[in-house]
Symmetry: C2
Subunit: 231 residues, 2 copies
DNA sequence: CTAATAGTGTCTTTCAGACATTATCCT
DNA sequence: AGGATAATGTCTGAAAGACACTATTAG
């Protein structure tokens, strides 16, 4: 809806549409991270027990992404995540406090940027390994779908890896995100043109040192990458 | 947000969160169709001139998809479209009547199911060829993205073609949706295993009659299809 | 017959996938 | 040297893309 004349404010009965009761609008955020080679989602304990995604009500004039950021900083001390809208959950009875719509958001952060005492729930594939309150489990699955779609298009767009990384580290990350093993050489050929050598070498333990690469912000993965990854 | 204790209804100042002013929530719908080999979007004229997507305010207890359907039946006499959430447009100043969030939806219908006097705006690629009110042009582009993503996964999931169709008709449809020409033989090989022969033949004018196929609801296109189509 | 369109066979190139080989570190 | 891991080269099979060829209709 854009701007409109007064007439558009009234329905067929002449009732002003803004006189109808309005819903409360909330945001919930599924913060995904990688720990010990598995995807995890950040949750918060609920007062009466049980687990839920961090969330908040939208305040007057606030944007959804700002409410999501505020929810994360208030409930988990996090800043600097980038949020992606997933879907609006709108079942009228989803919240017994009344009519509350919730915009689900996905965000992704490396484990180090989460508080060390953050409560994490492991994911098996795209589903949480523990029950979450209400429709939050669906939100988590949607967040994984979104994460995979973004990682199929670009190389580590959410900076889960540090600035420089080896191809092996990148492949392990992708195996975690897509929950499948990826062939070493095909994967290298897939990504090699979308990353940039730093010239430096990794000084990990034994064996030949691996070359360190950095992301190349602009470059997209080839269009057929989705096939390789999601096959 | 799920159910919560009373404490979660109050913010740090003890103010009840439901006492905050709430936004109006609207839905807008980008109905896409194919006419003369081009994508078009259904628009409605605005009282003071200009074009906009059909939309409506959300009524108490109503679901977003129901509001979208109501908007379409009221403003364009349409029923039976399936709606897909695209994104919530939430700029606080996007509507000068006040604080109005709008959930953009995409829908797709064959031209025959639209009123013959429906106002259609042609698309050039993913952008409308005429200016639309406010953020509605962005909504249209998102609708095209969504349409392409769905058509890359399944064969004509929105039933733009009739129950039975030839491979040529299907290819012309895909060329329209993806706005690029597709090789005749590669396209046939891509889709042939995801459609079902009816045994009947098309009796179009000259030349060898083409076999008629039908959709096979369950079957997905191969994962690499996105590469072929969006290359 | 010719014109027109549908459908298939074939060749080349590309690339995934598997495997082997070489390269470069460590102890 | 020997072990370990990185990186690359090679082969095969599958599939895209281009092209030509065959098949089947109308007139």
């Amino acid at each position: 809806m854009g701007r409109a004349t007064e007439s558009e404010w009234r329905d067929a009965d002449g009732k002003a549409l803004t006189d109808y009761p309005r819903p409360s609008v909330a945001v919930d955020v599924a913060v995904l991270t990688v720990q010990t080679g598995r995807l995890h989602v950040l949750v918060v304990g609920r007062p009466r027990g049980g687990l839920a995604l961090p969330g908040s009500f939208l305040r007057p004039g606030e944007r959804l992404a700002d409410a999501a950021e505020r929810a994360l900083s208030t409930k988990a001390g996090l800043v600097g995540a980038d949020f992606h809208q997933l879907a609006m959950f709108d079942a009228p009875d989803r919240d017994d406090r009344g009519w509350v719509l919730s915009m689900a958001h996905g965000a992704t952060l490396p484990r180090e940027q989460l508080p060390s005492d953050a409560e994490l729930v492991r994911l098996d594939g795209r589903v949480a390994s523990e029950p979450l309150a209400f429709d939050h489990a669906d939100m988590v699955s949607r967040a994984v779908d979104d994460l995979r779609a973004r990682y199929a298009r670009r190389v580590d767009p959410s900076d889960l890896l540090p600035d420089s990384f080896t191809v092996l580290e990148l492949r392990r990350l992708y195996e975690t995100v897509f929950d499948r093993s990826l062939p070493k050489d095909s994967f290298r050929r897939l990504v090699i043109d979308a990353i940039e050598p730093t010239g430096r070498m990794s000084s990990s333990g034994a064996g030949r040192p691996a070359e360190l690469f950095r992301r190349r912000g602009d470059d997209e993965l080839p269009a057929g990458a989705a096939g390789l990854l999601t096959d």
